[in-house]
């Protein structure tokens, strides 16, 4: 119970102590314009020193955090006869208004001994500034000028920002200096001495704010927006006490046209150099022994974007050992651009004796003055290498052959093989179909013709067979006439002729093939009797013999026999 009371007492003490911490937030400019800087001050009062308390500035989208800072102090006061000491911590956060709108900056939090204390929130209204409606004061203004407004990609130009004021001024701050996207920027000078100049009959203080060299790296139209800043004017007060007064100061706008480099006529060796250059190459000695080092220097000299130039690829002899070059620059930058020289020094070590050549170097660049591509070249360098002194005697370092990267094979047009006309595919052509169909047609035609011919022959044979007897009887009648004329020899001939042609026709045997043996065989197959066959053969023999010698036979018998044989066969 006792312990509990103590705890309660401590609690009340603590809350009482804690309640003495207050945080107040306030803005020095609750309604800034876009581009203006303003501050939020947090005043933290507490009975103990909070100088090292952790404070985190509030991030707000649309307001750019610039910086923060703190200051401490303390004071004592008497209230109702009690003295108390209060520590005061002032925490200041500076922002720049980036976008128009209403912003509620959340309360700042501070954690002391596990307890969180919060400030009030601060409302900021940022109003937009219509750039086009801003009237540049005649009395004080910024002036942006460029020495060239239309340049080629890579062609340097200088941009100068100057201030003009009819009053004395003690400070100038530009709040929205652009980032110069699309350019490589190098500042040349800033915040130079001011001078007094009379413009339109009025005296002005003129000073350089900044001069920069810009090298365009992107083609297109680049706008440099209206700059806005604050200027501290010194009022023409009396004597020692001068008052300053802050005023807004604006500039003009500027556009710069960056033309792309022309594609036509661009040499293959072009690698982006713009300006006016020359290239040279030299060796320290051109007659060395193998394994002795040679220094080979390539110098690119001229004005333009020399820093961005690249050395063309150098064709070193394949059996030279080449070390990475040492690059030294001697480049000066001024308002007209960069100029100077870039030196590449290669160390080469020829490995073998012989005559070698470092090929000519071609360096091409775009000259904006003539708007044309130009070439400069360093001549070929011949190097003769003698045999080494053999200090590494008896040992030859074997090396792999060094092949260049593969390139396409050359093809020449062989004029003999050049012929006009496209080859049409054979398949599907007229010749194709002719060759497909003609042999088949020929086959069919031949088969049909063959059949017709055999048919004809068969008809002839059957008609011959039928007419054999008729023809034979006709021929026998001729024989009969010879008989009446007593011309025996002719008679026998006629009978022989009649019999032979009868047998030939009847049994379809060509006359030339007809002989007795065959007749005997044929008659046998036709079923004639042995005797008939014999008679027939004998008769034929007699008739044949009668052609050469007289035969003593009864002629009328012969005639009758011949008739009988034909009749028998016909039967």
């Amino acid at each position: 119970m006792h312990k509990l009371l103590v705890l309660i007492a401590i609690f009340f003490c603590l809350t009482g102590y804690a309640q003495q911490i207050t945080i107040k937030a306030e803005s020095n400019n609750p309604s800034p314009d876009v581009g203006d800087n303003f501050q939020i001050s947090y005043v933290i009062e507490s009975p103990s020193n909070l100088g090292n308390a952790k404070l985190v500035p509030k991030a707000v989208n649309g307001l750019r955090f610039l910086n923060d800072g703190r200051s401490t102090g303390y004071y004592s006061n008497w209230v109702n006869g009690k003295s108390s000491v209060k520590y005061q911590l002032t925490y200041t956060v500076a922002y720049q208004a980036e976008k128009a709108g209403e912003y509620n900056i959340a309360p700042l939090e501070i954690v002391i001994e596990g307890k969180t204390y919060k400030s009030n929130s601060v409302k900021i209204v940022v109003s937009a500034v219509d750039q086009s409606k801003i009237v540049r004061s005649e009395e004080y203004y910024l002036d942006i000028t460029a020495n060239k407004k239309s340049v080629y990609l890579g062609e340097p130009l200088s941009l100068t920002i100057k201030y003009y004021s009819q009053f004395n001024l003690s400070g100038l701050q530009i709040n929205n200096e652009p980032e110069y996207n699309g350019f490589y920027k190098k500042d040349l000078a800033s915040n130079g001495q001011s001078a007094v100049k009379t413009i339109n009959g009025k005296q002005h203080v003129v000073g350089l704010y900044r001069q920069s060299l810009l090298i365009p790296i992107e083609a297109g139209t680049h706008h440099i927006p209206k700059l806005s800043g604050t200027i501290s004017l010194v009022s023409q007060g009396f004597g020692f006490f001068q008052q300053t007064e802050e005023r807004k100061i604006y500039s003009n706008t500027l556009s710069i046209t960056v033309k792309p480099l022309p594609l036509s006529g661009q040499p293959t060796s072009f690698s982006g150099a713009v300006g006016n250059f020359s290239i040279s190459a030299k060796v320290d000695k051109d007659h060395v022994k193998a394994n002795d080092a040679i220094s080979y220097k390539v110098i690119i000299k001229g004005s333009g974007n020399i820093k961005m130039t690249e050395l063309p690829k150098i064709a070193f002899p394949a059996d030279f050992e080449v070390y990475d070059p040492k690059i030294s620059e001697n480049i000066s930058t001024d308002a007209s651009g960069m100029s100077g020289q870039k030196t590449y020094e290669y160390i080469l070590i020829p490995k073998h004796a012989g005559e070698s050549k470092i090929a000519a170097l071609e360096f091409s660049y775009f000259n904006p003055a003539t708007a044309q591509y130009q070439k400069t070249s360093a001549p070929e360098i011949a190097i003769s290498v003698d045999k080494g002194d053999g200090s590494a005697a008896g040992y030859v370092n074997k090396e792999d052959l060094k092949f260049a990267q593969k390139d396409i094979h050359y093809f020449a047009v062989n004029k003999e093989l050049l012929h006009q006309g496209k080859t049409t595919p054979f398949t599907g052509s007229t010749l194709f179909w002719l060759l497909a169909i003609l042999p088949q047609l020929a086959m069919i035609a031949i088969i049909v013709m063959k059949r017709e011919r055999t048919y004809d022959a068969a008809a002839l044979i059957s008609s011959k067979n039928k007419n054999a007897a008729k023809i034979a009887s006709k021929k026998l009648k001729v024989a009969e006439q010879h008989l009446q004329n007593k011309d025996n020899k002719a008679f026998y001939g006629a009978v022989l002729n009649a019999l032979n042609s009868y047998l030939s026709d009847k049994f379809n045997i060509p006359l030339v093939n007809l002989n007795k043996q065959m007749i005997a065989e044929v008659l046998q197959t036709k079923g004639s009797s042995e005797q008939d066959i014999k008679e027939c053969i004998v008769l034929l023999e007699k008739c044949e013999m009668a052609q050469y010698a007289p035969v003593n036979d009864v002629i009328s018998d012969i005639y009758a026999k011949a008739l009988a044989i034909i009749t028998k066969i016909e039967a």
Binding site: T268, K406, D407, I408, H409, Y410, F411, A412, V413, N414, K415, L417, L418, H419, Q420, G421, K422, T423, P425, F426, T427, G428, F432, L435, A436, P439, Q440, A442, M443, I446, I447, K450
Partner: protein
Amino acid sequence: MKNLAITLLLLIGFNALGSSTSIADSAASYYRQGKYERSAQSLEILIQQNYVSSDLCAALGNAYYKQNNIGLAILNYERALKLNPGNADLQDNLNLANAKKSDKISDEVQMSMYTSIKKLNASIHYDTLAWIALSLMAFAAVGIIVSRFSAKEKRKRLVVSGVSLAGIGILALCFTLYQKSILDENKEGIVLDASVEVHSEPSSTSSVVVTLHEGSKIILNESDRNWVKVRINAEYSGWILKSSAAEI
């Protein structure tokens, strides 16, 4: 311009052969001087005059390769290889050009039937097959004719072998015609424009299937007005403007 005028004069003044050899010579000398654009122009004149040779296409491919015009280089190497299949130098040059193109789709457009027909055609060209088929059929016809004039025992054998030869021949002939029709319907082409949007329908308002880049090999199918249907692989096809690709 003056050179072009001279070339034109040559074209008019000389007979066909004379002018063609002089153009070929000037193309070669331009190439040696590094004037690749001029060289390509001269060779294109020969192509327009209907001259055909593998060397001509290869030289034109080289002239385009040197100008870094990869699409036209690949197209002409492929044309050269078509006229002179299996040439190792040509294949080397094509590989170098292919290494420079940006689309990494496989070289061979994979389509089951087309791919196997194409492989077959590479080993036996359909014209060769046509000659074989026609010879078989002619042999068969001769055999059947001879059979008519021979003795009975021989006749039967001749007829059987003749008819079977004819059967094989007709089958081969049908296959040849099929092979040719497949190859006629699917022609290989090369994308020539730097980038080409492949549309799902033959109109520029339809959705884009894929964007192809210079040098990609595609299959050209049927066409519709100034659009042509292309097949990218077995899965995807679409329509592009005829002018943005060329047939090999």
